[in-house]
Amino acid sequence: MGVTEDNLNTFPGEVYRDDAGQANFFVTSIDKLANWARSNSLWPLTFGTSCCAIEMMSAASAKYDWSRFGFEVARATPRQADLIIVAGTICTKMAPVLKRLYNQMANPKYVIAMGSCTISGGPFYYYSYSVVKGVDTIIPVDVYIPGCPPRPEALLEGMMALQAKIKKSRAYVIDSPKTKQEE
């Protein structure tokens, strides 16, 4: 995909043209370039534990079609995914599995908490011996989508909010210079 008239406005950076009017090179920062690439090719992990997963499948299918926004390639392995949509109730027995899946994902990785159950435990908050009270007690969450379950439009809205968040983040964080430890 090159820089054309169609995507000139969405591309982060300044495009320079040669004498013939062709866009031959651009000036940008590595942060903006990496964020542009990352936010437009988020690969979600196929992970659903209950009814929210039905809405997630609907968002993936032809009617809502999340591949319009770059979520095309749902992966069944955490090694190839960089977004996990926690769609559904997480029980205490599922919690270590979810944590392991999250740890197996390669950096950078993002988490969307979809639905009431993953936000707080939802209808199981007050009287349940088995449901985790919010998935953010296990893994860090980037975007919360309320609803029981949220409609596919809400999921797409949340995923686009995640894209906006990624575009504003620092892609490369330079470590502070290491100082010699005194012994």
């Binding site: 205490t92 007050y126 009287y127 349940s128 011996y129 449901v131 009270k133």
Partner: protein, 151 residues
Amino acid sequence: MSKEELKAYLEVNFPTCKFEDTIDFPVVIVEQGQLLSLLKSLREAPSTDFDLLFCQTAVDYKTRFEVIYHLSSTTFRHDLVVKVLLDDREHPELESIFSIWKAAELFENEIFDLFGIRFLNHPNLRRIILGDEWQGYPLRKDYTDANILIP
């Protein structure tokens, strides 16, 4: 057999059992000692032929437990509910029916997991849904833990 025929059959063959009037399945309440012989007969007698145990569960009535068996016959298409009362709430024990219906193995594992009713002569009685380190039995009425905010 129809519901009335089934009731008449049981009154003749098992006169010590009690009956409950219900709108759906016929219900028979049996003593703990008679349970195994009643179920074995219901399974093996050609006229009843209850070859399917489609549900086995328990209820906590705070003073006692009740274990409930839902039986069906795939040849005659009649159903029956058998209930047995367990008065010892501290150490509830009951004979396993694994020797009669193999399906009972997982049912009884689940009942042990959630109610703490021990089944004697069960092939492998263990925590099946909750973890091995789980304390207590969550479906008992007096169960509490830190996760339950409104007891």
